[in-house]
């Protein structure tokens, strides 16, 4: 399905770090399903072009050295991304992108090593939390099947932080079982409160560990539920 608004095709910046490797998949998904060409922005740029939104893709930026996303968070481009977000700009961080967002303090919390200490690649079920963000509202009550592939996906935050997330409706997605319940068995990596993704206080920045760009065709993985998440992202600024 193609999306072209009255103001033209949305300009979405795709921030690329050395070691990002899901950038091509994101570009492919947005092009094939929405007719949107993502604009690559290299990490050494200090200024963002004129953009409607920013996307930080998955991968192993800087080889995950120091901590996943830690080195990327100090890239020159991140100052510009922080200003963009501070002025209300929407952003989506997927997997390593989510890690970069937490390391940049654009989202609260941290992503730690999976409880089982092993990399996990599998399809999981997600449900949107209750909140006012576009994600929670548009995806409420839908169980979404999206793949994860990570070694450091265990979401962690201190007790006060968790309370704030809950109070503000910032929990965007939780790992759930087939009945939509956030059980321990449904939690692939030990994340606190089964949290798979969160939004910023203003609801415009989403970070999530699962890969929606990998669930856009039934032919690939048997689920196109990722499209709904990407659509919500587009809705947030179009």
């Amino acid at each position: 399905m193609k999306r072209i608004t009255a103001t033209g095709v949305p300009r979405i910046g795709l921030i690329e770090f050395p070691g990002s490797n899901c950038d091509r998949d994101c570009a492919d998904a947005f092009w094939r399903h929405f007719g949107i060409k993502l604009q690559p922005v290299w990490h050494t740029e200090r200024v963002l072009p004129n953009l409607d939104a920013v996307l930080l893709p998955g991968g192993f930026s800087y080889g995950d050295y120091l901590r996943s996303g830690a080195l990327a968070a100090h890239s020159p481009i991140m100052a510009a991304v922080k200003s963009f977000v501070a002025s209300g700009g929407p952003a989506l961080g997927i997997c390593n992108g989510f890690q970069v967002l937490t390391e940049s303090h654009l989202l609260p919390g941290a992503l730690l090593r999976n409880q089982g200490r092993k990399f996990i690649c599998k399809a999981v079920d997600l449900m949107a939390g209750s909140g006012e963000s576009v994600y929670c509202r548009s995806l409420a009550s839908r169980r979404l099947r999206v793949p994860i592939a990570h070694g450091e996906g265990r979401y962690h935050i201190d007790n006060d932080g968790l309370q704030r997330l809950r109070d503000n409706g910032q929990v965007a997605f939780r790992y759930v079982d087939q009945n939509g319940a956030a059980t321990a068995d449904a939690n692939p990596n030990g994340a606190l409160d089964n949290i798979a993704g969160i939004v910023s206080e203003n609801g415009r920045v989403l970070g999530l560990m699962p890969h929606p760009e990998r669930a856009t065709d039934l032919l690939i993985g048997g689920s196109a539920d990722g499209l709904a998440i990407l659509e919500s992202f587009l809705t947030s600024f179009m």
Binding site: P18, Y65, C121, L219
Partner: protein
């Protein structure tokens, strides 16, 4: 780094001391350490016209090692059929290339990293993946799929759990970080590998037919550039280590293992593809086995030129490395490039973007020699052509093994009786435990990245990828690539000729079961000590068996690798010619999984000449048979080709829901694996008249030639059976059903489903 560089006046450079070949004992030790025979040394004297320097001796040792020169295998490998209408690049380059659709081609190859993985399994496996990735992207191909084939000793062997855990982690960490999906593979456990594990890694990449890049060092005056990680002491003599057997006393070879950095590899990958796309380089070669040495000689050799290099410019991690060490280090993630001098600035701009260090270390000459200076001395001055032309080429003696004396039928009867004694159901559970669910392994591999994986490791068969490329024929928008790796080492132990042919056939069957047409193969020929005439005979027979299968199936060999000396304390491994095959399906939406997800009828497609055998079977292995008696299922080429065509026809007509070739453990084991990850049960009732003359043990647990279990789509049965009616050499019959139940009912036996599932999922791997 300055882009101008010229070779100094070489006649003015002094040589370092030449080695002293008069001192008997220490000279003999020196040759032995370098694995150079006295004949080979005589050749070196002849080629150089003088004694060699130590660095030169090291170079000959590496370049003429088994691993690099294929000296024991070359005479046989030339018997492989390597040509075909879709072959774009055959053996001899970094990877083989075959046409897939339109201008879209597949570049692929398989390589072994067996010896390093036994010593340091994590890094050995990781760097194995790194090396094969480089071979593919060095040609300008973007890797789209990784596969791996692993062999370990018995699960109960004390080293096995450590090897398995770390090999898998090494493969996963490296492949995941570089961002290439690991989509298929195979693992098995056999006492034969107790002292020698096998790690064979395969990569498939995509490339445009007119943009395939080859590693030539051409153009006198062109610059030789070193790119990538700094050089350290890792892996010196890795090539010659891979060219020798292990003895328990050599347990301390830790220093020869290389350490990989997949982050740098990813940067190298992107930089290389960008640089090639922009046409900035003339020659490119990754530094693999024998490091800087082999890449220099290979590039110069292919171009018929010479090279001058100055080792003082090589970036180093460790101070005070000698010329010898610099030349033989196998530090990872490094490449050698040749460029025209005026392209230096553009090249540097790309490499700076990708944070890769690059240094000019030499220049192309027309001397026909590789000349290398270090700290004011001409350490190396060797003519290029004889390095390959005069490389040792052995015609090692062969003594084929005696044929087993027990004939097939008597053996089958004996094994059947043993099965009955042990209990057929106990044997079924044992076969399930032995083949084992691989979920614990593939969960650690990112198999989704690239968003092209249609059938991945969860589906248990060949991998199927939806290849989206603007270079493909636009009439194939759902173009599919099928890939698989296969080898049955038990059949090989029985008969190396048959085993070689069977490995190709097994791969082809998996491709056909996914609806694909085989295009070409690569191989990793893993054998024991070539100085053992029986092993050499096995190798030669394996090559002939593979060649026969390739001719019958019209599938050429386009690349490959040989790993010899897989032997410990005098015991060689079973012959293990691992075959990697790629195939094509026009519409990958039609590619069926090898597993069943809902209740359905099951059919068996089988050759009319079918004869179940226990020779080399899983059942026999589990009954502690020595694996050298009986016969493996005979190959009926007419039937095989007909059944594979039939499968392609019914699959491409959208009639098939699931399809799997009947493999280890026979029909019942295969059928249970098809449903083991669901909660569905199974009833098997084989109604094939050609099988009626065999006992039930043979029918269900015996292993068969070219047979497949099929689930037909609802409503499509009559059409499928109609197509089957015209089969001459094969037949299709009802075999049973997958249904909602808690048992597996097979012939007269009933085994609880839960026991089967538990057996399948509970083993180490």
């Amino acid at each position: 780094m300055n882009s101008s560089f010229s070779a100094p006046e070489l006649s003015k450079l002094p040589r370092p001391d030449l080695i002293d070949d008069k001192d008997g004992a220490s000279f003999t030790a020196l040759l032995r350490k370098h694995k150079i025979s006295s004949d080979e040394y005589a050749k070196i004297l002849d080629i150089l016209g003088r004694r060699p320097t130590l660095a030169e001796l090291g170079i000959f040792s590496a370049m003429w090692s088994e691993h690099c020169s294929y000296k024991s295998s070359r005479v046989h490998l030339k018997r492989f059929p390597t040509e075909g209408p879709d072959v774009v690049v055959g053996p001899g380059e970094n990877a083989g290339v075959v046409r897939l659709s339109g201008k879209l081609c597949l570049a692929f190859k398989m390589e072994s990293h067996n010896h390093p993985s036994y010593i340091e399994p994590y890094q050995g496996a990781a760097t194995g993946v790194g090396g094969i990735l480089r071979d593919v992207f060095c040609m300008g191909a973007r890797p789209i799929a990784n596969l791996n084939a692993l062999r370990f000793g018995l699960r109960t062997h004390k080293r096995t759990p450590h090897l398995v855990e770390n090999v898998v982690k090494g493969i996963g960490d490296y492949g995941n970080c570089v961002g290439v999906p690991t989509v298929a593979g195979n693992i098995s456990f056999d006492a034969s590998y107790n002292g020698n594990c096998l790690v064979n890694a395969m990569t498939v990449g995509v490339i445009h037919e007119d943009r395939i890049f080859k590693g030539y060092a051409s153009g006198r005056g062109n610059l030789v550039i070193y790119l990538g990680s700094a050089t350290g002491r890792d892996g010196i003599h890795g090539a010659s280590m891979a060219s020798g057997s292990f003895a328990t006393k050599d347990a301390n070879e830790r220093s020869t293992v290389q350490v990989g950095d997949p982050f740098t590899e990813k940067l190298l990958l992107e930089a290389t593809l960008e640089v090639l796309e922009k046409g900035l380089v003339v020659g490119l070669q990754d530094m693999g086995a024998a490091g800087l040495t082999s890449s220099a000689f290979e590039m110069a050799g292919r171009a018929g030129n010479g090279l001058f290099m100055d080792l003082d410019h090589v970036p180093v991690r460790t101070a005070a490395m000698s010329a010898y060490e610099l030349l033989l280090s196998e530090s990872q993630e490094r490449m050698l490039m040749v460029i025209e001098p005026h392209r230096w600035d553009e090249l540097k701009a790309v490499l700076d973007k990708w944070q890769l260090a690059c240094t000019v270390i030499g220049v192309v000459t027309d001397t026909g020699r590789v000349q290398i200076q270090h700290q004011g001395q001409l350490e190396v001055d060797v003519p290029v052509a004889p390095m390959t032309d005069a490389a040792p080429k052995y015609e090692r003696p062969m003594k084929p093994r005696a044929k087993p004396e027990v004939d097939g039928s008597s053996y089958n009867k004996m094994v059947s009786d043993l099965v009955l004694q042990r209990g057929p159901e106990a044997l079924l559970l044992a076969t399930l435990r032995d083949t084992g669910d691989k979920e614990k392994v593939y969960r650690q591999y990112d198999h989704h990245i690239g968003t092209q994986t249609v059938l991945g490791p969860e589906e248990q068969g060949a991998a199927a990828l939806w290849v989206r490329s603007e270079w493909a024929d636009p009439s194939e928008p759902f173009l599919g690539m099928i890939a698989v790796a296969a080898c049955n080492e038990r059949y090989n132990r029985l008969d190396a000729y048959h085993g070689g042919a069977h490995a190709v056939l097994k791969a082809a069957r998996s491709v056909a079961a996914a609806g694909g047409k085989p295009l070409a193969i690569t191989d990793c020929l893993n054998y024991g000590n070539p100085e053992d005439p029986a092993v050499m005979a096995d190798f030669s027979a394996g090559v002939d068996g593979i060649s026969e299968a390739c001719r019958e199936l019209a599938v050429p060999v386009v690349s490959g690798n040989v790993s010899l000396y897989n032997e410990t304390d005098g015991e060689s491994i079973a012959p293990t010619p691992m075959i990697g095959m790629v195939g094509k399906i026009s519409d990958v939406r039609l590619s069926p999984a090898a597993t069943v997800k809902q209740p359905t009828q099951l059919f068996l497609l089988y050759p009319k000449s079918v004869k179940p055998e226990f020779g080399g079977s899983l059942a026999a292995k589990l009954l502690d048979q020595n694996g050298r008696q009986g016969v493996a299922p005979a190959i009926d080429w007419l039937a095989e080709k007909e059944s594979m065509n039939f499968l392609r026809e019914v699959i491409n007509n959208d009639l098939v829901a699931a399809c799997r070739d009947v493999g280890d453990g026979g029909i019942v084991t295969t059928a249970v694996k098809m449903i083991a990850k669901t909660d569905l049960g199974l009833t098997l009732r084989l109604q094939a008249k050609e099988l009626a003359g065999f006992s039930e043990i043979e029918r269900y647990l015996g292993e068969l030639g070219g047979s497949y279990l099929l689930a037909i789509k609802p409503g499509a049965e009559s059409k499928a059976l109609q197509l089957a009616a015209s089969l001459r050499y094969n037949a299709v019959v009802q075999a049973g059903q997958v249904e909602v139940s808690s048992v597996v009912s097979w012939g007269p036996w009933t085994t609880p489903l839960q026991l089967c599932q538990h057996a399948f999922t509970s083993s180490l791997v």
